[in-house]
Symmetry: none
């Protein structure tokens, strides 16, 4: 597959991503993606054999994109508290554009395909975030900036809350204030006081 082919594949993935954001995972048809790409019926099949395959590619690219977004912003001389704030801010930013993300599609995907647990993108992402958060909290505690007896569980709790907020945004209408309030509360739980 040549250079141009790769281009087209990328183009399809980008368009398909929008479809998955819009409609979730299960109810997306090949036709939906064909229409979104303004491509011919057979054309799509040259690149992908099924919506599942496309979705996996979308997820993969998503993962690659997302990886460095957060870390790239961290300054040299940042304190744990600074970094945590950045992290929370990044999460908030992510939440706020919930109308443009793949949360529900991803949930649906893993609900539908639970058997195939190898390379579970959701779990990997969650674990990575928990790991990073735990380190951060441990450092914060060490340096006396935070208070926490069980950093791992605290980190997990933060992530579960964020996960709960994601769902809330997708199914119920949540305001930005409500989200801010919850995120602040999470920081307070670590002995930090937010002042924005």
């Amino acid at each position: 597959m040549g250079e141009k082919s790769q281009q087209k594949k990328k183009y399809i993935i980008e368009k398909a991503r929008e479809v998955f954001i819009e409609k979730g995972y299960r109810s997306v048809t090949m036709k939906d993606i064909i229409d979104a790409c303004d491509i011919s019926r057979g054309g799509l099949y040259l690149y992908f054999p099924s919506t599942q395959e496309i979705f996996l590619e979308v997820l993969k690219r998503e993962q690659e994109m997302g990886d460095d977004v957060f870390t790239s912003q961290v300054q040299e001389d940042a304190t744990p508290t600074d970094i945590l704030s950045l992290f929370i801010a990044a999460q908030k930013a992510e939440l706020m554009k919930s109308k443009e993300n793949l949360t529900m599609a991803t949930y649906e995907y893993y609900f539908a395909h639970k058997p195939e647990k190898k390379d579970n993108f959701l779990k990997d992402q969650f674990s990575a975030a928990v790991g990073a958060l735990t380190q951060l909290i441990e450092m914060g505690v060490e340096e006396g900036e935070m208070y926490c007896e069980d950093p791992v569980t605290a980190a997990e709790e933060i992530m579960y809350t964020i996960e709960g907020l994601k769902i809330g945004l997708l199914t119920v209408e949540l305001t930005e204030e409500e989200i801010d309030k919850q995120l602040d509360y999470l920081l307070q739980g670590l002995g930090l006081v937010q002042e924005n």
Copy 2:
């Protein structure tokens, strides 16, 4: 619609519920429900015009059932702490049978039909739980059993975490220990120490 009609409708709803638990909301077809009910094709249409209508009825009945489950267990002389423990235990019970609940179907439903916000079952349920929890925490604080500066947000945070755990159970494999740990942590956040 006669007595027998009501019976049949109830029967369909019960069978349909199982289908929605199994497959979520969007990918359920009329045929799935027809097969589950062992009913004739035309028969189902006598009672319901679409899967959406059926799902709404399922949700309604779910709501009616769920309402008194918790309150019925509360003793006369229970302390706020006792009641909170009961509440958490009830939530855990609910979580543990996540393979038998409508969580994903409900998420999918509200994701698909966000426009029609009237009678949002999810929101109502969430708000009710938050309301009850808030009262409980306030009482607990008053009676010196708990510590909390912002009972409403604390209550919300508990519920968001539980929501996050629900998703985790459906998409990633969570163990009972992980759930216990998180629920205990929530209680600790209110100054309570769990000892089971």
Copy 3:
């Protein structure tokens, strides 16, 4: 499946039979049969899931029909020679309407599905004919009407020749005279002289 359903099934089989006669087996599509039956797209699927299933039913019915056609014509006091003549005449009749028979479709079917050898209609039919012929020749020899040292092989040879003639009719243009000549020759091989 009720009475009427059976009727329709039979109707479809009859129409499909014509299609198979016309086009053989492998190149017949569900659409061809749908068109021939003047039925709706989904309609056919209510009765049959694939062309293979339909073809097997066609063959089955063919078998049932064919069974008694020959035997029914045999008189009480017929000599082996008479019966053999009848048999040959019946085979000729069958050959002559080769434009209306399933020979090529059947060949194609068994060529395509050789693995599934159970209930091989072709073999059964062939064997049955050979068996009957063998008996006939044995009786003819006993009664001094025919001459043959190896009735089984002679019977088989007759049938192979007929099979060869079938193919000839389907692929090359054979005249009635050519067929007559061959069939007569077969009888002469048994010491009989045809005089039509």
Copy 4:
């Protein structure tokens, strides 16, 4: 069309031949041949516009190849009986490798395209064989080696039987013994006794 072009055409025909042997005629697609040749989609169209055209070329080459195979083996001083034995042996060899020949494809082809009778390969081949056989039998009779009142019909009958055996091999499972028995029987019909 240059030298190299001719080479490629020959290559395609050889590969296509294998496909036709494997799948018959009608169900072979351009794609099957493209895959078998490991050639580009457009590439094939530079040489052939359809499977029909390819098949005709395959047949033509087949004809050219087959012509001299038999005659080349005939010795100077062979008797008609010797030659006939050779002929039958050649036919048997042909039959035994029925899994590698174009019989069914050819049948299907002529069944599908009966209208276009010009250059009917099957008929030509059949006629040629009958002609040669007839001469052989006539010579055999003349020299007192064989007995036959109607050499032409006898020759035809031999060929029809062989045709019938071909079909048997393709659709029913025939053993080598069965074939031997039939071929011997044909020779016996000419007053010859086989002793292998």
